[in-house]
Symmetry: C2
Subunit: 350 residues, 2 copies
């Protein structure tokens, strides 16, 4: 039932795969027991990278797009999971208000929204779309490549509830990651279920917290299987405010990158891996791969800094603009030559 | 996600199907709310008959066989449902003891057991098979058509627990309908989960109770959809002890059959159905279609009675032996010319 990840790369992961397959009953039980103690997110997608010698998640999306990538065969499973999730969280639900991203002219994204509508309709809900885009003041139809369409409607906020014209939902599903901040219209909705909760948005959430929690989980899981957690865990470090333009906080990025590259080199030596390590520098909040850079040597950062200060490179400038004053998380994705092997989508009904 | 039932017969059911499809969100919500109030069985299969003008369940199995009939595509759904069911009922489960029917040389039945093992293994449990057959005193391997095999092991009963050699299960799953009575070895197991509970077995369960409960559910459901419950509900009546050999209780069967045939005729007239009604007489407990007879006219019962008393017909004798002294439920399956359109299997995780 686990999606089969296709990759051209092979290596120790094969041994690991074998161990995981053999331990399946123990692993499933472990999950069941963890779900008893922790509430999983309503829906999630995880970007997983496979270096052949290591396979790790590099990004967890709490407002997952990409549902359009589900195959037909996966659809019944998604519906079943949606039913279980609704039954657990809001069994009396009848109307679902889905709030997508604002930049909804992207065809793939629209197909993603269409698929979500399809899944939750099949799970037994009346689904309508409300937009945070205040320029949309009347129902607006968006055409889809398959000939279908989606209707975006303006939100109607009353003192205690959020809805649409003639549509009072008991549940609001966000497919908007709130990178732009917490919209006022979503605040103080205590009568309705808001999924995921507002603190799952990038206005509050931090990648560094996520990687720290994931590290703990990876350690527990690795202990269960008797394996090195490094094989499934990306190393990381965190700096505070960084501004590449005036150089604020840059020493921190440089020293952390340096230390991490050293740690990876030792791990590569331990496993006899003949690759050049790299680290990825990303903002601690935000999405869509914006402002991400790859560092193979801490000196690369000097270069970046010089260029940013000289403002000679438009692209880099955009990058530094995005990063200016942001907290930086360095994620060490020891996945050289890695291809993105798949975006695994979970709709966790448990 | 609902299995698609294929039938050569068409009629008012098409209108009904359309109404059901349109009401899907309302129906799903109705189910969710019902599941909040009622605990569904751990697993079930339902025999559904389609007369074209009427579609109704005629038998609900609480110890369903036939899992071997699941298509490959349905398997992931079964595993997901099994996971949800385990998570709800016994999340800490690790070992599952599966107790199949005794007459386990039937190849189809063995494949059914194999499929159950497969589903619950994939759901994360260690599964082993224990038999109620006391002649099996050592692990016994049964070969399967696909080259695989199943190992039946003798049960080990201690004062408080049931298990196998070196296998202490927290959960015991019965795939044996207990038609032969309640085995002592299954009594007083208060430390382990026994699924389904013993009172689901034919030693306790009665078809007439089931049809009565189903009738109530069908009425509620029909009200939700604004339809005649008769379209999904088999009429029924119940007699007490009946013995066809000495004639005890036969007047009851005759008068009930007569009354029911009359009721059906009125319904057929109402719907303009040009068919000859019939009733099915079955024992109130038990399974496998044993001792079932079709009655198109109450006078048929006289004939049966005469023949039983004359003991002229071996087959009929076997029938009457089975029926002697049993409570009879008359189920009126107004499904003339009906084919069995499908055995719908539910593994209800909710």
């Amino acid at each position: 039932m686990v999606p089969h990840l296709i990759t051209a790369l092979n290596g120790p992961i094969n041994e690991l795969e074998q161990r995981i397959l053999e331990s399946m009953p123990a692993i499933e039980r472990w999950f069941r027991l963890e779900w008893m103690e922790h509430t999983p997110p309503f829906y999630t997608s995880v970007d997983v990278r496979n270096a052949g010698f290591k396979l790790a998640p590099v990004d967890t999306n709490l407002f997952p797009g990409g549902w359009n990538n589900l195959t037909e065969e996966m659809l019944p499973l998604a519906v079943q999971a949606a039913m279980a999730a609704i039954e657990k969280i809001c069994p009396e639900a009848k109307n679902l208000l889905l709030i997508p991203e604002k930049h909804t002219r992207n065809t793939f994204y629209l197909q993603n929204v269409q698929r979500l509508v399809q899944i939750f309709t099949a799970a037994g809900l009346n689904v309508r779309l409300g937009t945070l885009d205040e320029t949309i003041t009347a129902p607006t139809q968006l055409e889809l490549p398959d000939g279908g369409s989606l209707t975006l409607e303006p939100l109607l906020r009353t003192k205690r509830r959020l809805g649409l014209k003639d549509f009072d939902p008991c549940t609001i599903l966000l497919n908007n990651d709130l990178s732009a901040g917490l919209p006022k219209v979503l605040e103080n909705l205590h009568e309705q279920y808001l999924l995921p909760p507002l603190h799952a948005g990038w206005a509050v959430r931090r990648k560094s917290n996520h990687f720290q929690s994931y590290e703990e989980v990876a350690k527990k899981f690795a202990k269960l299987l008797g394996m090195d957690p490094w094989l499934i865990n990306p190393m990381f470090a965190k700096c505070g405010k960084v501004n590449f333009q005036d150089g604020t906080g840059q020493e921190c990025v440089q020293s952390h990158a340096d230390a991490l590259l050293g740690k990876i080199r030792r791990k590569y030596k331990e496993y006899g891996i003949q690759e050049k390590p790299f680290v990825i520098v990303k903002a601690d909040a935000g999405t869509y791969g914006m402002g991400i850079m790859t560092v193979r040597d801490a000196k690369d950062l000097d270069e970046l800094n010089r260029r940013a200060q000289a403002r000679q490179n438009d692209q880099m400038l955009a990058l530094t603009r995005h990063m200016r004053g942001m907290t930086i998380a360095i994620t060490v994705l020891t996945v050289i030559n890695a291809v993105l092997v798949g975006v695994t989508i979970w709709l966790t009904g448990r």
